[in-house]
Every structure is written in C-alpha cells, then in structure tokens.
C-alpha cells in the first residue's frame, strides 16, 4: 500500500476515534446535565409546594382555583401538579393533567410511606415521556399527602436528539474533509520523495550526471537530497575512474596487438627478404614482452586489490638495501652516462617485505634514469626523523606538470611527455610503487617542476626499538649513535 494511502488511513482512523470519543462524551454530559436540570427544577417546585402547604398548616385543599392561587409557580405550563391521598387516590390536580389519568405508581407510594422522595420516569399511552417527583408530606408521623410534580421530558429528548443528529451528520463530514486534507498534505509532503524516486530511477538507468534539485529548506527532504547527491557524486567519480581505467587498459593492450597484427599482415602480403621477416619477428617479440609486462603488473595490482598479495613483515635494514640498489642503478645509468649518487645515508630499519621494497625503489630509480637527460645525475638520499625513514630519489630530467602530479600514481596514467619520452613504459609502475608504500603504512610523494626534474620521496615508519636492536653490528657506526 502506498505511503500516502497509509498515512491518510492512519490519520483518518485516529481522527475518527477522537471524534467518536469526543461526541460520546459530549452527548452523555449534555444528556446528564439536561436531566439534572429537569430534576433540580422539579425538586425546587416540589419543595415550594411543600413549603406552601406547611404555611397553610396542611389543610386539605379545596379546588384547583385555590390551588393555583396558592401556588402561582404551578401556573408554569411545563409542569403539572397532583396531590394524592395516602391511599394513592388523586385528591387534586393541576388543570394541565385533566385529560388523562395518571395514577401514582406503586413504587412511589411505597417510598412515600418510608418518608422519602422519589424521582421516576413515567410513560403513559399517547403521552411523551414524563419525569415525576413524588414528595410525601408527613405531619407528626402520619403521611398526609403525596405531592407529585411532573414535567414532560419532551424538550430534553428533543434537544438530545438534535444534538445526536448534528453529531452524526457533522462527524462523517468532518472526517471526510480532514481525510481529503490529509490526503492532500501527505501528497504534498511526499512529492519530494517522488521527485527523488524519479531521479534515482534515471540514475539507476545509467545517467550519473543527473542531480536532484536541493530544496531551499534544510528539512528532512533537504538532508536526504544532499545525502543522495553526495552519494551520486562519489558514484560518478568512481565510475569515471573505472571507465578511465578500462579505456586506458584497453588502449595499452590494444596497441601492442595492433603493432603485431599490422606488421605481421603487412609482411605476409607479399614475399619478402629474410631480413624483413626478422625485423618483424623482433618487433613482435618486443611487443609480446611489453604485453607480458602489462599483464603481469595488472595481475599483481588486481591481486593486491583483492588482498591476495602476501607481504612479509620482517626487519629490513634500509641503508643496506639502498646501498645495494645504488650499485644496481649506477649500472642502469652507465648506458646513457648518467651519474647515480648516494647523497646521504643513515642506519634505518623498517618492518616489511624486502623484495617489495626493492621493487619499489628500483622502479623509482629506473624512472629517474629513464627521464634524466643524457649525462645527467640522479641523487639518492636516506634520512630519518623520529618516526619515519625518508628515501628520496631526485632526477634533473623533464619534470612533471603540476596538474599531472596527482594523477601519475593512477593506473595507466602517463603524461604526454612520458609517452613521447619512452615508449616502453606500462603506466603501472608508479601505481605499484604507491601500493607497496601504502601497504608498508608509508606513503609516496612527488615534488617536481617542468624542465627541472622531479623528486620522489618514500616515507616508511621505522621499526620499533627491539627490531632495530637486532641489526647487524657492522652498520651501527658511531655517527648513527650521535644522530639518534
């Protein structure tokens, strides 16, 4: 059942209950007070009659005219008056009851003998309901008369009936009107929800550029809208990243395939010299190597994403590792006459996986050599502060533009300059570096200026003291003690 219908029904039911209870109480209280008023007036009249009789010394009354002159209040048209003898026979009565015999009830007589008054209802044929009060007059222990005053309940009943009618007619009308109002209000309150639903459906259909219009008010709907929009923002971003990734991945994998297919087809179009075939095969082998590297690195990253890459957490002496890598990088640089210089080193132990760390730094050094100008220099430095070891690799090569610096750690992201500079990169190396640094609870940063070079800095948390104590004695030189 739609929320709007449910809200309206709940609202209607609650309102109907309130109306019924209210009407019932109103009716009962009104009926009670009207009857009480009748009873009170009867009692007063009776009491006045008794007082008059007392003043006259309880002399028997002769006739109506005397009676009426004695009791002017009896002239009131709405009441009648009867006096009964102790035997229950009517001795006298007011003119307005002449038409009909209205004998004293047995109960009234009995009660009169016990000296008490009685209020009762009486119903005579062809007459409206009557309210009667019978008051005994007792003089020196003897019952002299029974005075009965009565009045018609007609007006009371009529008033009550009218009230009932008004309630019965107005209650459904009020209920209907407020149900309609409730339906309208629920619709109004729920309209933004419908808008959100429609937008959500469009977005679910794949259009992530859609946003909800934020209402001016900061109410529940406003908050929901904002939350929803923020969620779509994040979704759009990650969708764009995924799309970018798959388009980049497809580009990187298709290019070697294009080369291999194109060169092979071209070679097969007509007979060629043996050397031509050799060139094609060598080129294809290069492309196969390139694809193999991409696939390996992609597999590594996707296994890393799934948390399937095992990472050691053993003490690794960074200074030894860096010295070793320095030697390796010097060999890399020789080919293009690039000097790799170890500017600073200090004993430092981190907890981690030596093979992965080696891969991380070798990757950075390889990049630094690749993007250096011939006969340039690459600097390595290892420093420590209270909590972290900092390894920085600096080149004086082409540099990275400011807007690219945040993106170079993205998978397959390669700047145009990098693409033009070296055709062999996969665009995954720095993504892997960043992952290794992060899985050691460290991070990697880049500072660079176009045309001047780049510095990549890796920060790794130092191992706690006991692990550091297990260091081989050879590397704990006096200088390191001073530094600490």
């Amino acid at each position: 059942m739609p929320l709007r219908v449910r809200l309206t029904l709940w609202y209607g039911t609650a309102l109907a209950l309130i109306l019924i209870i209210f009407s019932t109480i109103l009716y009962l209280v009104t009926a009670r007070s009207l009857r009480d008023a009748v009873d009170e007036s009867l009692e007063e009249t009776a009491a006045a009659a008794v007082r008059s009789l007392e003043e006259r010394g309880f002399l028997p009354l002769i006739d109506e005219d005397e009676l009426m002159s004695q009791f002017p209040e009896l002239a009131r048209i709405d009441k009648f008056f009867q006096i009964f003898s102790p035997s229950g026979t009517i001795t006298i009565r007011s003119p307005n009851v002449k038409q009909q015999e209205m004998p004293l009830s047995r109960q009234a007589l009995e009660v009169a003998y016990s000296g008490r008054s009685l209020l009762e209802f009486a119903k005579y044929p062809k007459e409206p309901a009557l309210r009667l009060i019978s008051v005994p007059i007792i003089y020196r222990g003897n019952l002299l008369y029974i005075i009965q005053v009565g009045t018609s309940m007609d007006s009371v009943e009529e008033t009550l009936n009218r009230l009932l009618l008004v309630l019965l007619v107005s209650m459904p009308i009020a209920l209907a009107v407020s149900l309609a109002g409730g339906w309208f209000m629920a619709g109004r309150a729920l309209r933004p929800v419908d808008t959100i639903t429609l937008a959500a459906q469009r977005i679910a259909g794949g259009d992530l550029t859609q946003r909800l219009t934020v209402p001016a008010s900061a109410d529940e709907i406003g908050r929901l809208t904002n939350t929803f929009n923020a969620m779509i923002d994040r979704l759009e971003t990650s969708f764009r990243q995924i799309r970018q990734f798959s388009s980049d991945a497809s580009h990187e994998l298709r290019t070697p395939l294009t080369v291999m297919k194109g060169e092979t087809e071209l070679a097969l179009r007509r007979p060629r010299e043996t050397d031509d075939y050799k060139v094609v095969l060598e080129s294809n082998l290069e492309e196969i190597d390139r694809m193999t590297r991409i696939v390996d690195e992609l597999l590594f990253l996707s296994r890393a994403d799934m948390g399937e890459v095992k990472m050691e957490r053993l003490p690794v002496p960074l200074d030894t590792l860096i010295e070793d890598l320095h030697r390796q990088a010097s060999l890399l640089g020789q080919e293009r006459n690039i000097q790799v210089v170890l500017r600073a080193t200090t004993p430092a132990v981190v907890l981690g996986d030596e093979l992965r760390l080696r891969e991380l730094f070798l990757n950075l050094l390889d990049n630094a050599v690749k993007y250096s100008r011939p006969s340039g220099a690459v600097d390595i430095a290892l420093m420590i502060d209270q909590t972290h070891a900092r390894v920085s690799v600096t080149d004086h090569g082409i540099g990275i533009a400011q807007e690219d610096q945040t993106r170079i750690f993205d998978r397959f992201y390669r700047t145009d300059e990098a693409r033009a500079h070296t055709k062999k990169g996969t665009g995954l190396g720095l993504a892997i570096c960043a992952w290794i640094a992060e899985s050691h609870r460290g991070r990697i940063e880049v500072q660079s200026k176009v045309g001047e070079g780049s510095t990549f800095t890796v920060m790794l948390p130092l191992a706690p003291a006991p692990a550091a104590a297990k260091r081989p004695p050879i590397s704990s030189s006096p200088s390191s003690h001073r530094e600490r």
């Binding site: 497809s250 179009r269 033009a420």
Partner: protein, 223 residues
C-alpha cells in the same frame, strides 16, 4: 593520392605508412597532434588517418580544427577504445569512418579506397576513360584487352590523372598529390614519370590520352 597519417605510436605509424606506400599512395607521417593539424591545414591531402589518442592535441580536436577550416578531406579515425561513445564523438566531429585497433590491413586499405571513391560521386569502383581502365581495388590497369604493368609511382600518377580526367593538372598539384613532403619540387621527376606512362599507355595506340598543356601541366582526355 596523398595521405596524412597522424599516429603517435611509432610502430603503428610506420607499418601503416609502409602498407600505404606499397599501395602506391604518397604518405606523410606525423606523431604529434598539434603538428599534424598544422600539416592537415596547409597541405592539400586526399585523406587523413587520425589516431584519437595523441599527445598535445587529441584526434577529436584535429577533426574539429580541420572541419572548422572548411576542409572537406575524408578523415578516417583510428581508436584503441572499443567504447561506442568515442567513435560517435569522432564521427560527429566530422570523421567519415573509423577503425578499431587492432585492425586488418586489408580492411584499412578497403576503407581508404571507399573514402577516396566517395570524394567524387560519379566515379565508380573502376576508373575508365575511353578503353583505358584502372581498378583501384586490384590495381589492375588495362587498355583495350591488354594488361599494362606499372611501377608504384607510375600507378599513383595514373590514378591521380584518371580521377581528374579532363582537367589541367599543374606540376605542383601532381607533386602534392602523388609524392609526399620529402619530394623536391624543383626536379623534372614528374616529366620523367609522365613520359614513362606515355610509353606504356599511349605507345602503339592511335588515340593519345595523355596530353601536355604547354606552360601549365598535363591532362588526361579523349581527343
């Protein structure tokens, strides 16, 4: 027919150039987007082959630049992305056709032939003037029932002449469409090749098809 290839992957660009040259097209290769657009704007190419992902200026920008300059040269785009929206964007920006990498060389050549054919609507697959026929798909040239063997350049020259039958073609026009940018326009190579063609096509036939227009250039026509 002279074609500009804008492709940043050196190897891809090289094999495309080689394949096209073996089909007697004159080919210029450019690896940079901005430079490629420059070349497309300043040289009268018969066809452009543009990779969509390029450094400095994307393939889409090149397309827009070329079309903005009111150059109607057919453009074939190459894309490594299989996503439809890239191809749609390319076609909407003014490309005439696309190929997804990796592609078959035969398909590339067939699409190039189709695009070049589209340039002049009245020309069917086989070019014909009098009893001289040239089939661009098979590169077969016949006069009457006799098959004529041509070298790559001779063929390229003849194809250019036949695509513009009845019009005077100046030496600069010929050099621009039959040779690539490395060609030195101040030599008499064109005259030498026209003579080769005359020997193979008109010799022994009473009806001459290749005519010298003194002071301006050459024309292919039926007398």
């Amino acid at each position: 027919m002279r074609i500009l290839v804008i492709e940043d992957e050196t190897k891809v660009g090289c094999f495309i150039r080689r394949a096209l040259e073996e089909e007697s097209y004159a080919v210029d290769l450019c690896e940079d987007g901005a430079k490629g657009l420059e070349m497309a704007l300043h040289t009268n190419y018969d066809l452009l082959i543009v990779d969509l992902m390029l450094p400095s200026l994307s393939g889409l920008d090149i397309l827009k630049g070329v079309r903005q300059a009111k150059i109607q040269t057919p453009i074939l785009i190459l894309t490594a992305q299989s996503q439809v929206d890239q191809r749609v964007k390319g076609l909407d920006a003014g490309a005439d056709d696309y190929l997804t990498k990796p592609f078959a060389i035969d398909e590339l050549l067939a699409r190039i032939r189709a695009l070049l054919r589209r340039g002049s609507t009245e020309s069917p697959g086989v070019l014909q003037i009098d009893d001289l026929a040239l089939n661009p798909a098979t590169r077969e040239v016949t006069r009457g029932s006799q098959r004529i063997d041509l070298t790559l350049k001779e063929y390229a020259l003849l194809e250019y002449l036949m695509r513009h039958t009845g019009r005077v073609l100046t030496r600069p026009m010929i050099s621009e469409h039959v040779w690539n940018q490395d060609f030195d326009t101040f030599t008499n190579v064109i005259d030498v090749y026209v003579n080769y063609l005359r020997n193979k096509i008109d010799r022994g036939h009473s009806k001459k098809l290749i005519h010298t227009i003194r002071g301006s250039g050459y024309m292919l026509k039926v007398d």
